[in-house]
Symmetry: C2
Subunit: 125 residues, 2 copies
């Protein structure tokens, strides 16, 4: 529980959307922190390994992170414009994924599901 990791966690918690390591670094530096980029990467890696933050990849291959309200399994509805995200659930999807996996003889079935769109506030601009 280093103070730096806590700093990064809070920077993430302060945002409702997914943020990249470089975004967070820029934010922290802007508000006066002397944190290094390497440390931001390390903190995000640690936080995602413990499941405290969620990670996903943009179409460009960049990793973006989010400190969600729950650590339970869930998915996201993400705004393509501002990257704001809403946590969503889909019991039917969970069941379908494991069912289709086992149907084809796959074991250890997991899945990734993300829903994208333009949020109401971004649409009205």
């Amino acid at each position: 529980m280093s103070t730096r990791r806590e700093t990064v966690r809070q920077a993430l918690t302060g945002s409702t959307g997914f943020r990249s390591a470089q975004d967070l670094y820029a934010d922290l530096r802007a508000e006066g922190s002397k944190i290094g980029l390497t440390t931001v990467y390390r903190a995000l890696q640690a936080l995602s390994e413990t499941g405290e933050v969620d990670v996903l990849r943009t179409n460009e291959g960049e990793a973006v992170y989010r400190a969600c309200d729950t650590e339970q399994h869930h998915h996201h509805l993400v705004c393509r414009v501002c990257s704001t995200a809403v946590e969503i659930e889909g019991p039917a999807v969970e069941a379908w994924a494991t069912e289709v996996g086992t149907r084809y003889g796959f074991t250890g079935v997991t899945h990734t599901v993300e829903v994208f769109g333009t949020c109401a506030s971004c649409a009205s601009r």
Copy 2:
């Protein structure tokens, strides 16, 4: 319809799994082709733009491609070990995704869904 693009398309079609640009480049060179890495990237980009091949990102951020049997909207069940993939459908998921999107006021709703697991042949080893 350059001959190089066709070469790349066939290299992809010859595989049942998702392959990276570098994989395909290595394969093609191994079988004697004098193709350049840049051209492989360009071909894959063109093929994915027209929807002829599907793309997804590995957890490490690498783009991997697959020439699927259909160009219709579908998803994949991918082996984590050998990357072999099966094309799957889930009408319920399609409906759920658009429903949850509009429920939160999002427009232009799309989604990404991938199912992962260990295929039977990889499990028996």
